[in-house]
């Protein structure tokens, strides 16, 4: 019993530390940067949503299907949330799940024809279907707001001031409550994604990538599993979309375009997709690069292109291959007292 407990702690302390650091981020930022801290907090919020998005994309790639319409699925979540909140005044605890359900439905419709294709055809097919959805957003003035999109999306609300459960999300000066909401939802999504990755379904998806014919022969319906993973990935992408819709307060079709999709692919490729931690590292490092290159705005595509190519050439497994190397290095440093 004791042993399993210590194993548990050993496995989870990095994740627990990161969550605790994130939980105290508003205070830390305020101490370091004062009022500028709030701006940095917005970045952190976007980062959390991006992590959920990248992680859901990584799940999608475990079957070997690299889609080009993942941003569209996120956009589905964002648009549904925005429409419900803006036009119908639906509270956030309903918009987020309803948006997720709608996105799953759309994912299913997209996945039906795509599941009949593999490889390059899948890649291009997903691009075409995604652009089709984006075209609808762009052309339909109601309810999607055409190419100018939707603005003035109301902030989430929980109770009136005076209720014991009241949480103030509305303040523009102090966004830490909104930040905590984002953090809770992001951690929830990431834990579910981790459980999925290690579950029987996660194994099935990885085996489909490895040998789909063999999977058929031992009783896995490959087509059904590929549709399922598309819907599951869409569900989590939608959560990220809802978060971003509330954070930005305004969305338009260009937010979910091809360029964003390329950035998503860069995150995942640079981080690696073999383990759960790859996309986390990828998003973290690339967001950092993105912020550091803010002064050279127009050179960003060039910089990211160079990063993508050099990571493919010098580190094809992604940054995640460094994890076992560094842990081994530190273990050697400490000495081999620890018996694994």
């Amino acid at each position: 019993m004791l042993k399993s407990n210590s194993m548990f702690i050993k496995r989870w302390w990095p994740a627990a530390t990161i969550i605790i650091v994130f939980a105290f981020a508003p205070q830390l930022f305020e101490t370091f940067w004062g009022r500028m801290g709030m701006y940095k907090l917005v970045l952190l919020q976007v980062f959390l949503a991006n992590v959920v998005l990248a992680q859901s994309y990584r799940l999608m790639t475990t079957t070997g299907d690299w889609t080009l319409c993942h941003y569209i699925l996120m956009g589905m979540g964002a648009y549904t949330t925005a429409i419900l909140a803006k036009f119908y005044g639906v509270p956030f605890y309903l918009t987020i799940p309803v948006a997720a359900i709608c996105t799953v439905a759309v994912s299913f419709l997209i996945a039906l024809p795509l599941s009949r294709t593999i490889g390059f055809a899948f890649f291009i097919g997903s691009f075409a279907l995604g652009e089709f959805v984006r075209y609808i957003w762009e052309k339909l003035h109601f309810p999607f707001g055409g190419s100018r999109g939707l603005s003035n999306i109301p902030r989430p609300e929980l109770g009136q001031s005076g209720d014991w459960y009241f949480v103030d999300f509305s303040s523009r000066m102090d966004i830490s409550n909104l930040y905590y909401g984002t953090l809770i939802l992001a951690v929830f999504a990431l834990v579910l994604l981790y459980r999925l990755d290690t579950s029987r379904f996660g194994n099935a998806w990885k085996s489909i990538y490895s040998d789909s014919e063999l999977c058929e022969s031992i009783g896995i319906n490959v087509t059904r599993y590929r549709i399922l993973i598309f819907c599951v990935a869409g569900f989590f992408a939608s959560l990220a979309g809802s978060l971003l819709a509330y954070q930005w307060g305004a969305i338009d079709p260009d937010n979910f375009g091809m360029i964003e999709m390329v950035y998503l692919i860069i995150w995942v490729v640079v981080g690696g997709v073999k383990t759960y931690w790859g996309p986390l590292i990828g998003v973290a490092s690339m967001s950092l690069v993105f912020e550091l290159t803010r002064p050279f705005d127009e050179f960003r595509p060039l910089i990211f292109g160079v990063i993508l190519i050099s990571s493919l050439v010098f580190m094809p497994g992604g940054l995640e291959v460094l994890i076992p190397r560094t842990t081994r290095f530190f273990k050697n440093l400490v000495g081999t007292k620890e018996v694994s």
Binding site: N203, D211, S217, I218
Partner: protein, 255 residues
């Protein structure tokens, strides 16, 4: 009612008739071999029964249930499981993991219970049973090795182990000794016999290697040019004129 019964099964690829109205009856507990010269349509026949191809016409019934035209994964769930000519396995996993995966991919839990439930107990039972299967097939020494590091013979054995892991009633082996040396062949023959004798699994196999087929099978079906040529015990087949003609050519032909 026979165990597996194939009636007038045909498979056409455009104008090419790969299988033409083939009948086959397999009894429970027998080892049945399917042989024939190259390009006779054996593998096509195999693929149609296991659901990888859709039949053009005819029917396949397994234990009274019509399985022709069903999806291959469904057929496998009903207890008809096949192996492949190539060494089909998950190369990044160990032998034990391969068999465990083959087992628990079929577990019937939902997405929600996969995320929230605790499958520790079921998982332990799975691992135990998998180790048992590996031990039974004589792969016990390799249980912790990576599948990609195994020898060809062991990889093919692992393929059979994975098929067995799904607890089939009819095991379909596609050229089980292809590319093996004589030692490995003997091991495989012993293994198949053991599977039938001790676990009562019915075996249907396609094979080129005559010695193996004659040693292993209770009855043999010969296919040539997509049609059934002969059927009988190994001795009957050895002395069947039509079979000899198909393999060696007729008397008057120039060798």
């Amino acid at each position: 009612m026979s165990f597996l019964s194939v009636k007038k099964l045909s498979k056409h690829f455009g104008g090419l008739i790969a299988n033409n109205e083939i009948d086959l009856e397999v009894e429970k507990g027998e080892i049945r071999g399917i042989i024939g010269p190259n390009g006779a349509g054996k593998t096509t026949f195999f693929n149609v029964i296991s659901g990888f191809y859709q039949p053009t016409s005819g029917s396949v019934t397994f234990k009274g249930q019509n399985i022709s035209g069903k999806h291959s994964s469904e057929i496998s769930k009903l207890g008809v499981v096949r192996t492949f000519q190539r060494a089909a396995l998950f190369p990044d996993f160990t032998v034990l993991e391969n068999v465990v995966i083959a087992r628990h991919l079929r577990a019937n839990n939902s997405l929600v219970s996969a995320i929230f439930g605790n499958q520790k107990k079921a998982e332990e039972a799975n691992v135990k049973r998998s180790a048992e299967i590996i031990e039974f097939l004589g792969l016990g020494d390799e249980i912790e090795s990576l599948a990609s590091n195994l020898s060809h013979g062991h990889q093919r054995q692992l393929g059979v182990a994975m098929a067995l892991a799904t607890e089939p009633e009819l095991l379909m082996l596609d050229e089980p000794v292809a590319g093996m040396n004589s030692g490995e062949k003997a091991v495989m023959v012993g293994m198949v016999k053991k599977i039938r004798d001790e676990w009562g699994v019915t075996v249907l196999l396609v094979e080129h290697d005559m010695r193996t087929v004659m040693n292993l099978c209770d009855r043999i079906t010969v296919i040539d040019f997509g049609e059934k040529l002969a059927e009988g015990t190994p001795d009957e087949i050895k002395n069947n004129d039509k079979v000899i003609e198909a393999y060696l050519g007729a008397d008057d032909s120039v060798a």
